[in-house]
């Protein structure tokens, strides 16, 4: 069994992270609809396979940077439900201490950059993190996510090219969820597969079914190890679907019911769950335990967030500069 095959315990972990991500977002959606002050919600609902599996392939010491919709990718790195809710509630206990908005956070101690909104500004930043690892001969890898729309921006081009030329140990993930806000792939680029953009930088590119953990894993894992062994960056596109609006306020009228149904049938969690059942990796009882565990986590996290204090007004002027 090679590193390109997932062990049972790994599969279970991925399964748990995917379910935890979904549960967090289900709750966020409810809170948003209830009019709770949770800021904007950019749900990655339906994208959990690529979101979780890619960042799960990283190891301690590696670093990750994502965009607004990739909360799920934080989880395998050790970021918690408490962080997510405290951040959305703008509380003093959140990773940004109330300074940054909703999904724009991270935790560098856990190797996760604090997301910025400008897309995809962390592409070159991850290239530079990789550069630092390369210069110091550290076997570390940087991974950046962005959406299909974001691949049309300056930072995608300049960042990937920089990493390619310098053979930085990086993996660039495109979460192609068919839309950039309301704008469909066809209005963003003429390409059928965005991973083809790899050929503009002389690096390998792969398009993979982004809703299939088992298909994603070997591709990502190989790219991570390729990076780690000094062979430079890889570009990987996971095809998936954003099953909710761009944000909580968006009823997504621009997507047909049929299209949603089609993708609903390919729900990554259901698919992976079936695999786990088929392989005897999980039982109904095990599933329930997972669900109960997650439920408790969510309750705890929401309670934590709601009960946490707000920052004090005067903290607004702190921390502009590092000492």
């Amino acid at each position: 069994m090679s590193a390109l095959d997932l062990r049972q315990d790994q599969k279970l972990e991925i399964y748990r992270y995917m379910k935890l991500a979904r549960a967090i977002e289900e709750r966020l959606e409810i809170l948003y609809k209830q009019g709770r002050p949770v800021g904007a919600i950019y749900l990655g609902w339906g994208q959990e396979a690529i979101e979780v599996t890619a960042s799960y392939a990283l190891e301690e010491g590696d670093v990750l940077a994502v965009t607004h919709r990739d909360m799920a990718a934080h989880l395998p790195r050790g970021l918690t439900a408490r962080m997510v809710f405290a951040q959305h509630y703008a509380k003093a206990t959140s990773p940004t201490r109330g300074k940054g908005e909703d999904n724009y956070f991270g935790d560098l101690k856990r190797g996760v950059f604090a997301t910025v909104s400008m897309l995809p500004d962390f592409y070159p930043v991850i290239a530079g993190a990789g550069l630092a690892f390369k210069m110091r001969r550290e076997p570390r890898v940087g991974m950046a996510y962005c959406g299909d729309g974001a691949t049309n921006r300056a930072e995608f081009h300049e960042g990937v090219n920089f990493a390619a030329v310098e053979r930085c140990p990086c993996v660039f993930i495109i979460v192609n969820n068919q839309y950039a806000y309301s704008t469909p792939n066809e209005k963003e680029s003429l390409l059928a597969n965005l991973a083809d953009r790899a050929s503009a930088y002389g690096i390998p590119g792969y398009t993979v079914d982004g809703n299939d953990v088992l298909a994603i894993w070997p591709i990502i894992k190989e790219a991570v190890e390729r990076a780690r062994s000094g062979e430079g960056p890889t570009l990987i596109e996971g095809k998936t679907m954003r099953m909710r609006g761009h944000a909580g306020h968006d009823p997504m009228k621009y997507v047909s019911r049929e299209k949603l149904d089609e993708w609903e049938a390919r729900d990554p969690i259901k698919r992976f769950e079936e695999h786990l059942f088929n392989q005897g990796i999980i039982s109904e009882k095990g599933k329930n335990e997972v669900d109960e565990g997650i439920k408790a986590k969510i309750e705890d996290a929401v309670k934590f967030a709601e009960e946490s204090p707000y920052p004090k007004g005067e903290e607004a002027v702190d921390d502009v500069y590092a000492a």
Partner: protein
């Protein structure tokens, strides 16, 4: 899916209410005067200009099928078609540049930047291509770049920026920030008809909170002219955008205390209407500068500097400025409230100056 979608992205702590501007423009006879929101005013200006002139078109992210992140162009694509209400790829440098090119070929593009914060992603096209073109070769670049700016909505450092200070320091641009529906509509029309690149920021806090009766005819408000939003005798408040409404609120509170405040709504930041400011100060002898832009090297600095260098002898007291501290704008309600000038704070500071 939600049954009644809320209108903007963020669900937040109930934001402070805003009083609306108290001096609606008189409506000429025969016109159909209607009370509309700031947002509707922007939308109407675009609509009417597109009807008036085939060269006018709109481009930006999600402006077409979706009708814009804030729904400014809702219904436009149905009326004007996808060519004139162009959903662009996510690429600010690309579509700012494209707008410049189209403008130089005789079109009148109006670019929507989804949040003013993202204007930084197309910065170079604005400051190096558009702003310097006419100076170098006398070729006009009639492009408008507009979008929702500023704070008050608990939207955090990436969705609440007031970038006007950078652009006001860029010769060759015009920079407009209207405070009322009437001005928003009239100034946007002027911007579209202007032969220069105009950066047009709309404090989104006002979008649905300020309503006003606007003239029914095809009126414009000239770029480069400030407006006396309220007349007064004891002190001049010089401000723009959302802060106009806070200044007016403060003025009403102070009126009850016997202090008469004049409020100047600049409307245009570049070119700056120095005359209106100086004329007001020549009457009141006291200047209070109020902005939502951060303090250091910001809009408030030029206002103070203009007054200090050009009205030095008229002044009967120090020039006071009130503006947010030099930090990014924070997300959490208590932080943002502390950061933004609040009415109570404005009242206190004005009282001090009035008593000088």
């Amino acid at each position: 899916m939600m049954s009644t979608p809320p209108e903007i992205e963020r669900r937040v702590e109930a934001p402070p209410k805003v009083e609306r501007a108290p001096i609606p423009r008189p409506t000429a006879e025969g016109e159909e005067a209607r009370e509309i929101t700031y947002l509707k005013a922007i939308s109407e200006a675009l609509w009417e200009e597109m009807k008036r002139d085939d060269a006018v078109f709109i481009m930006g992210e999600d402006v077409g099928v979706y009708g814009g992140a804030f729904k400014v162009t809702e219904g436009f694509i149905e009326e004007f078609g996808p060519e004139r209400v162009l959903d662009t790829p996510l690429s600010e440098t690309g579509f700012f540049g494209a707008a410049i090119g189209a403008a130089m070929m005789g079109m009148r593009p109006v670019v929507e930047v989804q949040y003013a914060d993202f204007i930084s992603c197309g910065w170079d096209q604005i400051v190096n291509v558009a702003a310097k073109m006419h100076y170098r070769v006398r070729e006009a670049v009639p492009v408008v770049i507009r979008g929702p700016s500023a704070g008050g909505l608990r939207a955090g450092p990436f969705h609440s920026q007031s970038p006007e200070g950078w652009f006001a320091h860029t010769p060759g641009l015009k920079v407009v920030v209207p405070a009322t529906p009437t001005d928003a509509k009239g100034l946007l029309k002027s911007a579209i008809r202007d032969n220069n690149p105009v950066i047009f920021f709309e404090p989104k806090f006002l979008y649905r909170r300020v309503k006003e009766v606007v003239p029914g005819d095809d009126y414009t408000v000239p770029i480069g002219q400030a407006r006396i939003a309220r007349e007064g005798e004891d002190l001049s408040v010089i401000t723009y955008g959302t802060m106009v409404h806070r200044a007016l609120e403060a003025a009403r509170i102070l009126e009850a205390r016997g202090i008469s405040i004049e409020v100047i709504d600049l409307r245009t930041l570049l070119p700056l209407d120095r005359n209106t400011i100086l004329e007001s100060i020549s009457r009141t002898s006291k200047a209070f500068v109020l902005t939502e832009d951060t303090t250091g090297y910001g809009i408030s600095a030029e206002l103070v500097a203009t007054i200090a260098t050009e009205a030095f002898e008229e002044l009967d007291g120090p020039i006071v400025r009130l503006a947010p501290p030099d930090t990014p704008i924070p997300y959490s309600a208590p932080l943002e409230d502390y950061w933004l000038p609040q009415v109570q704070r404005i009242v206190v500071e004005i009282e001090k100056l009035a008593a000088y």
